[in-house]
């Protein structure tokens, strides 16, 4: 009986030991939510970084999911409150509530911040600490179809920048020829309809006053603002945008520009490449497409014709209440290398907030990247888009009025300015 008891104890002890060994060998699993399920180049880049990390860190495993951005935001907003958010997730700087709510872990102790571009850090800096890994950065560009623009009889000058009246002429000629001048749709996004107006306002006002406008310290009834809005309304009335503008989705507006029916121009952030450089069979740009990049038009008596918006978009953040911060931090640290910055630029043909070495970038879209660099040479950058500044009711009014109603021709300049001032002007 005694020996049987000893035997049972031995078996039990062995089982415990075996379980303990197994637990020790089991890697710590972290969860990661990434955007870009429908953008192959970006998706591949993220998946490759995770694979590299897992290969170099056997003690960590990553459960990676690609989820559309809107769904990430909705799910994360519930999950962070209940302690169930993923260890690492996708976020953009236009969601500051995660920062102010204390749901994000500062990266200072996990990532070597010297590996991030200095201009990109402010997008994620809060109370002196950096909270996001700025993978995706972009400038707002005006893409155009070289052949169609030539066909309607407009010559793009060597500066690649039309004047205010020159752009209006392009719109009129396009509309007269039955070619949609500006491909744009706001069916599933809160910002595209405001790109042309706000880039024009930036060039008209200069960085200082434009910043005041975005911070609610300058009225939309300022004569300069009204002048630009009136110019834009003229373009709208001349037929600048597609008739299906209100329901056209971002992906569809790409297709509209470089496939059917085709348009003269396409204002879009430089993340344009995520969709455009997909294969033509899956809705990407045909390889023979005569793509050009011009500057947004210079405004009459504009204070800053060389101004341009630069912003950080897709980033990865750590959940403050995550249980596996060591692995999560190590994952982000492994992503933040110059080599990975180069790979991002090569594969995605898009700027990055990670430091990179342009001399080592060898892209199959080198011509495109050279043209993008040329359009950005000598640019004066303004950091951030309107929705990175606007919050709550102001952001909603921007979405309904500036993004949709004004470019759709549903509302006049005066009414639009009144609504924006009522929602965004400080002290109103």
């Amino acid at each position: 009986m005694r020996s049987a008891g000893t035997g049972m104890a031995a078996v039990f002890a062995w089982s415990l030991l075996a379980a303990g060994t197994a637990a020790a060998a089991e890697p710590v699993q972290i969860t990661m939510w990434s955007n870009w399920p429908d953008e192959p180049a970006k998706k591949d880049w993220v998946a490759a970084r995770v694979r590299d990390f897992e290969a170099a860190n056997k003690q960590c495993a990553v459960k990676l999911s690609f989820i559309p951005k809107a769904d990430i935001y909705t799910q994360a907003k519930s999950a962070v409150r209940t302690g169930q958010a993923p260890d690492v997730f996708y976020l953009e700087p236009d969601q500051p509530e995660f920062l102010t709510g204390g749901f994000l872990e500062p990266l200072d102790g996990h990532v070597d911040l010297a590996k991030l571009e200095d201009w990109a850090k402010p997008a994620w800096t809060y109370k002196g600490k950096v909270y996001g890994l700025p993978v995706e950065a972009y400038t707002v560009e005006l893409y155009y179809n070289k052949d169609l623009v030539k066909k309607v009889g407009v010559e793009v000058p060597p500066s690649f920048q039309l004047t205010q009246s020159g752009f209006a002429d392009l719109v009129r000629k396009g509309a007269a020829a039955g070619i949609t001048p500006v491909s744009q749709g706001v069916g599933d996004r809160p910002f595209p309809g405001g790109l042309l107006l706000f880039e024009s306002l930036l060039r008209k006002l200069g960085t200082e006053d434009y910043g005041k406008l975005l911070n609610g310290n300058l009225s939309f009834k300022d004569p300069r603002v009204v002048e630009v809005m009136t110019w834009l309304k003229g373009l709208v009335d001349a037929g600048a945008y597609p008739k299906s503008f209100a329901t056209l989705k971002l992906g569809e507006s790409h297709y509209y520009f470089y496939q059917k029916p085709g348009s003269l121009t396409f204002p879009d952030p430089s993340w344009f490449t995520g969709r455009a450089f997909a294969s033509p069979e899956s809705g990407g740009m045909p390889t023979s497409f005569p793509l050009g990049i011009m500057q947004f038009p210079s405004m009459d008596e504009g204070k800053c014709p060389t101004c341009k918006t630069l912003a950080v978009a897709g980033s990865f953040v750590m959940y403050a209440r995550g249980k596996n911060k060591a692995c999560a931090g190590a994952l982000l640290e492994s992503m933040a290398t110059v080599g990975n910055g180069d790979k991002w630029t090569e594969q995605v043909s898009l700027q990055t907030g990670l430091k990179s070495d342009p001399s080592k970038i060898n892209s199959s879209h080198a011509d495109y990247f050279a043209e993008l660099n040329a359009r950005n040479t000598g640019a004066t950058y303004f950091f951030g888009t309107p929705l990175m500044y606007y919050r709550g009711k102001c952001a909603e009014t921007y979405t309904q009025v500036i993004n949709n109603a004004l470019p759709a021709g549903l509302i006049g300049v005066g009414e639009a300015a009144d609504k924006m001032d009522a929602a965004c002007r400080k002290g109103s």
Partner: protein, 318 residues
Amino acid sequence: MAGSTALETEAAPLERAPAIGRVSDPRRASWLVLVVFLAPALVIYLGLTAYPAFRTIFDSLFTIEGSERSYVGLANYRDLLGDETFWIAVRNTFVWAFVAPILDVATGLLLALALYAGIPFSRFFRVAWFTPVLLSYVVVAILWMWIYNYDWGVVNEGLRAAGLDALTRSWLGDPNTALAALIVTHAWKWAGFNMVVCLAAIHALPSEVLEAAELDNCGWGAKLRYVIVPMLRPTLLNLYVLAFIGKMKVFDLVWIMTGGGPLWATETVSTYVYKRAFNWNTFDLGYPSAIATVWFGVVCAAVIVLNRVFKSRDRLEY
């Protein structure tokens, strides 16, 4: 004892029954049994319905920023009074709730009458007309976004083919037509449900009354107006109330097709609550909870009022 009859044997327990009391009454269960059977449903109801409802009412008295909450009393309700977007949403939701059910029920009744009248291929149409009920809102929304598409949608293509180019428009992008376009889509989805209920009710009508009407040379129109519809009144009113409640909470279709735009023309209370809770660059659930609480009260009150208004004083007897 050996000589006792079966009747005597069965009568004995009955005589003892008063002494044992309620427990022996086979129609009454013990508390333990009651608890065992009711507990699962009660737990689910309390956890998933009652608690969230009371928690929402409780949260409406706070401002919640991140993990911190501060008591603000009725401030959220005061803010609501001056919230222009909220009142636009209320107006749109009332239009949905009062107008759309008329369209839903009328369409369902017409389809049911068509089937009752025995139109050709009625078996096929019965299935075809009911099919939209089985589709998810996402599918219905995408389908109708195509139908309303400005460039190649069926509606505009039809108008162009008929030489009515001037009438073509961006149906979902025009504030004057967007809400109506959504209501039509919703009616299309639910017409089949109303049709099935109306058809069942028509078949349940007493044939003597209908035959008597026919013997009196009552035409289809008169029969419909003076016989069928009055006798279907309770069914139609119940369908109306059901549709009313559903439309006071309408969200999915609006969110997918227009997101409340253009210019808040299709904003409903539900989409506004969602925006305030999840799209407003804040974690504050206090204000959206206040909207939800107010609307909960409005829906309850409206249903009570409708039931009173529609309560039939004269019962039909046949």
